[in-house]
Amino acid sequence: MTANLKKKPETMTDVIGLYIKDVIDAYPAVGDILAKAEIGCVTCSVGTCLIKDVVSIHNLTETQEQALFANIAAVIFPGQTPALPKTERKTPTSGTQKLSPPLQALVNEHTNIKRVLAQLPALIERLQKGLNPETRQTVAEVIDFIRQYADRFHHAKEEDILFKYFDAGSDILTVMMNEHEIGRHHVRTALAALEQGNAALIIEHLTAYGALLKEHIRKEDEILYPWMNRELTDSQVGQLFSKFNVVDEQFGAKANTYLGMIDKLEKG
């Protein structure tokens, strides 16, 4: 038992109302059970989510959810068979779902961002050999892409539009916004390092940014957007679609310019 978990829960209903990090700290095997269910809370840096919120957001079937709770109960209440609670669910079944057009547009933008992230190891290898003018130019272009396309264009759609349809204080949005801020810190620092000609510092922060964003995008594509897709009404989907179109028009031809930059980067 850790200090965060002040007393042992008495029922599984108590358990799912606890902060997930506190439970994992007190019962590390629960982290393994969640990881097997592809609920990656062990690596989360925030951990302020309640177990029931984390489970419900993953859209497990009732059968999967009950099996998960049974496995957790076996760790916390060994030798006992406590009653297993059920989380509230808007849709009764799991399975693949086609995202609405505005959310699919965000996933498509992720694909472009991931193409750039995939080039970071090669760029870092070049940086390790020194910061020559050609490498300096490539780093500047990559940072410009991250700041303009990934942050001002894509993340702004999320923060200024999409997230406004949900509870700003919710755990999942807190985690996502926190990761956006950490990403911005890495990019600011990498840019300052570029201006100072500090290759080691650029490597450190581009590496950290790449790892952060890769996991961030996975969480959004596989967990956040499917959950939001289930929560949004048709009317809200239409509103998002129109608002995203305005942002697309404002960004205009710059999107194609950045796609051309990605092509160039991939060709080396």
Partner: protein, 156 residues
């Protein structure tokens, strides 16, 4: 009827568990219809209730098959009904849907059809109109079984 007859007009009877039981918790479902007319030939696509609206274009048979049509699908939306198999002059339908999208600036279009193959024509017609429109809107389709279950609901 031969086994290879048209599925859309094949004679079938469905057994319901208890036809004398109340239709729902209160036995009465309040109408969510908020406009007139409904038929796609009769509606004016520029009518105020289509401006910026979420529109549900419903095949004629859907509302009879689907028990909770009013509360689950019509509530808060504007409506038009049509039959892609029997209605004539469907080119006018394409023009009206284009007008919804470009002029009335509807927010979303939901197309509700029955599972019978001929009903797909209504979704095809809506997609054709959307492809001709200058504006773009999200289009959703819902396919209803003959027994009144939702077989598929997805964004096109």
């Amino acid at each position: 009827m031969s086994a290879c007859g048209c599925p859309g007009s094949q004679t079938m009877a469905f057994k319901r568990e208890d036809s004398t039981a109340p239709a729902g918790p209160e036995g009465v479902v309040k109408s969510q219809l908020a406009q007139w007319p409904l038929q796609l030939h009769l509606i004016n696509p520029m009518a105020p209730y289509f401006q910026g609206a979420d529109v549900v274009l419903t095949a004629d048979c859907v509302a009879y098959a689907l028990g909770n049509y009013h509360n689950a699908y019509l509530k808060g939306k504007s409506i038009a009904i049509a039959c892609p198999k029997l209605d004539s002059e469907q080119e006018e339908y394409v023009e009206k849907i284009k007008t919804w999208i470009d002029e009335a600036k509807i927010n979303t279009l939901t197309v509700m059809i029955m599972q019978v193959p001929c009903c797909r024509g209504l979704l095809a017609l809506a997609k054709e109109a959307a492809s001709q429109a200058t504006r773009k809107v999200p289009i959703k389709y819902v396919i209803v079984s003959l027994q009144g279950d939702i077989l598929e609901e997805a964004w096109a």
